[in-house]
Symmetry: C2
Subunit: 154 residues, 2 copies
């Protein structure tokens, strides 16, 4: 069990998503938490445009930051909160990082890889699965993304 | 058509893989080439241990380098050569980067995501597919990896 509840941490991931929106990046945010202490060791949001880097998704940036802080490529004692269902690239990174628990907000039928598309954690080529909780603050996360893309198209 | 042939470029990717082996990293190398000119704009090999970064696969590092050089998160005029079938994470990154052509050496039944596992490019959640050539210098790449893991186990 987390010291605080999943909604509290997802609210922080949503704050990160909002900061991406302000920078005109796709509003997705991620937080990595130590569930034993409640400490947040990494927070990030999409920076693919700013960094000219297609891998600069919120989850990848948060994992890289957390791993740098712990001097390890594996962070098995940490939980990752993200505002959108991770894509194939991020699902792979989450598995490699040996994340303890994955909590995501909105589903992503077009690009997700957890409950959609590749369903990576169900593949025999996935060598680390974890507890997954979906739907925490889904409405808020989903509305933020819909508004962003609506504005982009107008 | 490439200015040089696929075997020539894969030989350079194999050189990168060898450099990883010397640094005691998993020997996988990648090269990104402009097929119009034959120029190599990025070369990389695995650095997950050195960087304490589970995302520091050869393909990801090469894509990040090529994108930084072109100031773009998309590099649709470039071909990527890699010595092992890309994993799920790297397949996602290759698709996001809009790579023109993917050429890989050895198949990876345990972790690959092109012709194995998630078969990401066949998923409806994959929004950019490219020409894929498999098996170029496969024997050399495969032997290098087998020897590396054999030595690790001994």
């Amino acid at each position: 069990m987390s010291v605080k509840n999943d909604h509290t941490y997802m609210a922080l991931a949503l704050e990160e998503a909002r900061s991406a929106e302000i920078r005109d990046e796709v509003p997705i945010g991620a937080i990595i938490v130590d569930p034993a202490t409640g400490d947040i060791i990494a927070r990030a949001s999409n920076r693919t445009i700013e960094h000219s880097d297609p891998t600069a998704h919120a989850e990848i940036l948060a994992i890289r930051e957390a791993c740098a802080q712990t001097n390890s490529q594996r962070i098995p004692n940490y939980d990752l909160y993200v505002t959108l269902e991770p894509c194939t690239m991020c699902a792979g990174a989450i598995s490699f990082a040996r994340i303890n628990r994955l909590i995501y907000a909105a589903p992503d039928p077009k690009g997700g890889a957890i409950d959609n598309g590749a369903k990576f954690f169900d593949q025999p080529t996935c060598h680390h699965k974890m507890e997954i909780v979906a739907g925490i603050e889904a409405e808020t996360a989903s509305t933020m993304l819909k508004n962003y893309f609506k504005k982009k198209r107008s």
